[in-house]
Symmetry: C2
Subunit: 313 residues, 2 copies
């Protein structure tokens, strides 16, 4: 089952004729998380043939229009298409009021339940958990209250070596106990060590989304060790004074965070409209961190499984 | 100087991968009116290389999202691009509250003045006038308060026949008086009739925008005699029960209004996403009114000048 990120919007506040406002869709084992929802996100979802009803969670980083102005339209479309299942929205305080104001004046009642969970400052806080994943929020430093998100896959139980199970004729009823890491005792009293019956599952994968923020050292700890980091990169480092002034990051800032946090791969996005060719930003970032991709709308990054041993399965 | 309508959005509530939500830009002698502003309108303006700061007036028909959800983003972009000149917005009650709620939570102060004028029911009401045009609003019949708009060019003063002015050596200072329709007396006492010095200017042109509405007879009077009518046509007439239920029009309804109101040309738009090929709607409409065009995004309709005489100028 995949853990993958599809980029839907790569522009900063001013969209261009080819770049849309922020929105990134993450599929984690069939759970769909939409990170930010700029104007036109529902059109982008249609363009890339992604079924909008698949979305389970929407995570809004902050209440600047380029990060949420597509939300009310998306909610309305979900309703028009007769959604039934619950939608959970993580967002800063205020978004509920905005949504309610729209629904009031359009005399609209959404036909499906929404749960709105307001984010809190105070470090890396778990905001959601199920049997397969955990979602954390953490504070960023922007001109308005702003949050990043860290989505972490849970460690899976050990994988059974089916040849060994067959060899020793171990009953199916004993499999769950072996998966938990326990040894197995045959009827003749011989103890089979768990390591001979199972192998470790892949290492838990993680994705971090850093929306609008200026550079700050504490961010390294929130991002640390991520398999894939999406980090805003509004300006080239030669405009660091602009980044400072507007509480944004340069391509160097994004790369420095990635490097210090020992992440495996970095995607940079949220490009200022002044850059017709964003390769200059990638070139800038690569001076400080090698594995940097430019966000491209419609493209998908798959997070590979990694193991503590050589995987021959 | 032109009087022309550029179509930016042709979908109804559910956008498709090729059709955007309602927005139509009208250029009347250099004044730019945006009729409705569905989600993604600013992207459509960019796509068709229309400078957004040209827009002087935005007319919002009603507060269903597909007719206004692009507005806050457009206002923000105008501000980011350092607009200075005033923007006038005509809209139903409630939009000011929506805009204010957004600006509050994004801690935004727009850097240019906005004047918001709330529309009133009570028939065809003049909401704006300058030396070249008049804008009227009128009530439609939809599920929420909804308005149509009638934009009318003012009659221009008579056109001077320059050959006659030269022939009689009439001083420039006398031209304004002659343009008003007055005769001119030469120094020798000979009276030159105004008809020999001028010709009538073209007939005042008009455009009517009928956003979401069910068919009702009174609408004919609001639309009467328009040079160009943009009328919603969500359904084919074989789904008239759906139109009735949702307070929308069929292609037949739009054509019947155009026919009864003796308009010169009809554009139908606001197509339901169920129609992959909207030519069926045109075919339906043409049974009742001949001069029907399908709205096509990015295309411009020019309203031609017409005269009470044969124009040889």
């Amino acid at each position: 089952m995949p853990f993958e990120v599809t980029v839907l919007g790569t522009s900063s506040a001013l969209p261009t004729s080819t770049r849309h406002q922020s929105a990134q869709l993450v599929n984690l084992l069939g759970r769909f998380f939409l990170f930010d929802c700029g104007e036109g996100t529902q059109m982008q979802l249609r363009k890339y043939k992604i079924k909008i009803q698949k979305i389970n969670f929407i995570c809004i980083s902050h209440l600047h229009g380029d990060h949420y102005l597509g939300l009310v339209g998306l909610l309305s479309t979900m309703s028009l298409l007769n959604r039934h299942k619950e939608l959970i929205i993580f967002c800063p305080k205020g978004l509920k009021n905005i949504i309610d104001t729209h629904l009031k004046y359009s005399y609209t009642n959404l036909v499906y339940p929404i749960k709105i969970i307001e984010l809190k400052t105070g470090g890396l806080l778990k905001v959601f958990e199920d049997e397969y994943c955990q979602l954390f929020s953490f504070p960023l430093k922007h001109r308005v209250p702003c949050f990043g998100f860290r989505l972490v896959e849970k460690k899976k139980s050990r994988k059974i070596l089916s040849k060994q199970i067959e060899k020793y004729n171990i009953p199916i009823s004993s499999i769950p106990n072996i998966k938990l890491g326990n040894d197995y005792t045959l009827e003749n009293g011989q103890v089979l060590r768990n390591n001979d019956l199972t192998i470790d599952s892949h290492l838990p994968r993680s994705f971090v989304y850093c929306s609008d923020t200026k550079y700050f050292n504490k961010l390294v700890s929130y991002v640390y060790g991520a398999d894939l980091l999406y980090h805003e990169s509004t300006f080239h480092s030669d405009l660091s004074h602009m980044a400072e002034l507007t509480y944004h990051s340069t391509s160097k800032d994004a790369a420095m965070i990635a490097s210090k946090a020992n992440v495996k791969q970095l995607i940079i996005g949220h490009f200022s409209s002044r850059y017709k060719d964003v390769k200059v930003l990638q070139k800038d970032a690569k001076k400080y961190f090698d594995n940097v991709d430019l966000a491209v709308e419609g493209e998908t990054w798959k997070i590979k499984k990694e193991y503590n041993y050589e995987d021959n399965s």
